[in-house]
Amino acid sequence: MKPAPFAYAKAKSVEHAIELLGQAGGDARPLAGGQSLIATLNMRLSAPKLLVDLNGIGGLSGIAVRNGRVEIGALTRHVDAERSADIGKHAPLIALAMPHIGHAAIRNRGTIGGSIAFADPAAELPACLLALGGEIEIAGANGRRTVKADDFFKGLFETALSPQDVLTAIRVPAVTKDTRVGFAEFARRHGDYAMAGLAASAKANGAGLAGVRLAYFGVGDTPVRAKKAEAALAGGKVDDAIAALAADLNPSGDVQATAATKKHLAGVLLRRVTKQLMEAQP
């Protein structure tokens, strides 16, 4: 289908974007990679009056490692994050997730900020951000603020962003010697959204693990922390952790898989990811 008519404006700066988003009676939408937004417009799932194109704003893309943290600009394309040596070295969980996001042509346009702002519950990056205990930089009409990943994902496609906000960057802790990460997902076809997936991080603690963070995707309205399983895993008991998932997760079935299938897959994912977490990593 073709989208309903809308107006288009190209923002020159973050401040300009915020100003433009305030027009059109609040019925304006930021346009980043367009890989989700334009698809939903074409299907007429939404019909905003104005698109504010962020692509011309300088300084919103790029990857920097400073003060023990990796900062990724909102407009950084998936393909650039996938190929980044800095992300491979300092944020390996994100590097593991990147190839699973859509297909090559989608990754050429799609952006890191767009994936986080869109907050598809089956998307990889929101779960990675949650597993890493990352944070989100936001610029809005009342200035700039930082929101923790734990507080950002509010509901189905609902986040801490308000309509006039621009997500400017995400930040995750850079890995240290004792950091362990793990990632696995089940999708019907390479590049499809996952039926169920798991992103995890922890600290090596002797022969065991501490500070375990398990973030599931595709099994709820948002990425979901499995906190009881995290505690069980820190106690060194994989089977207990898998049993604890019954209390942590309450997936509903969707077109891809039934709730029972997703629950089963969640256990399989945990066993695989635990193995990755236990292996020594660089």
Partner: protein, 162 residues
């Protein structure tokens, strides 16, 4: 500041084009309907099938998920231009030889996608080839022949460079 219609200037297959487009016009509709470049196809119109694949500033993109208005100042290449340039002549003849197309609907997108992978150099594994074309649907061939053709060209190009 914001407009329902936008003036754009871009190059398409090396030629400068100046047009006024509706803001909501997608790149692939602009190419097909305004410029009569109908080699890029329109299938799903929501990013799933890859029939609309074109190159913008050297990288393959979904023509249905980019607005023509966003291409102001861009360098756009379609299957017509890439074909005329001769850079995929070997790939095209391998597709023909190995029956890697039947109806041909997916072929322009498939060729541009394959060429992006091949331009990285080396001989990718069949699994890598399948991953790279995973966003391009073919309803006719069953993919096997397409993978064969891409693999054969990768081997020939690697051999030729030695």
């Amino acid at each position: 500041m914001s407009d329902m219609r936008c003036d754009i200037e871009l190059t398409v297959n090396g030629e400068t084009v100046m047009e006024t487009v509706e803001a909501r016009t997608t790149l692939v509709d602009f190419l097909r309907e305004t410029l009569a470049l109908t080699g890029s196809h329109v299938g799903c119109e929501h990013g799933v099938c890859g029939a609309c694949t074109v190159r913008v500033d050297g990288a393959i993109v979904r023509g249905c998920l980019m607005l023509a208005a966003q291409c102001n100042g861009a360098k756009v290449e379609t299957i017509e231009g890439v074909s005329d340039s001769g850079q995929i002549a070997d790939l095209q003849s391998a597709f023909e030889r190995r029956n890697a197309l039947q109806c041909g609907f997916c072929t322009p997108g498939m060729l541009l996608t394959a060429q992006e992978l091949l331009s990285n150099g080396g001989v990718p594994s069949r699994e890598t080839i399948r991953e790279h074309i995973s966003g391009n649907y073919c309803r006719c061939t069953g993919y096997q022949a397409i993978v064969d053709a891409i693999e054969a060209v990768a081997q020939a190009r690697a051999g030729g460079r030695k």
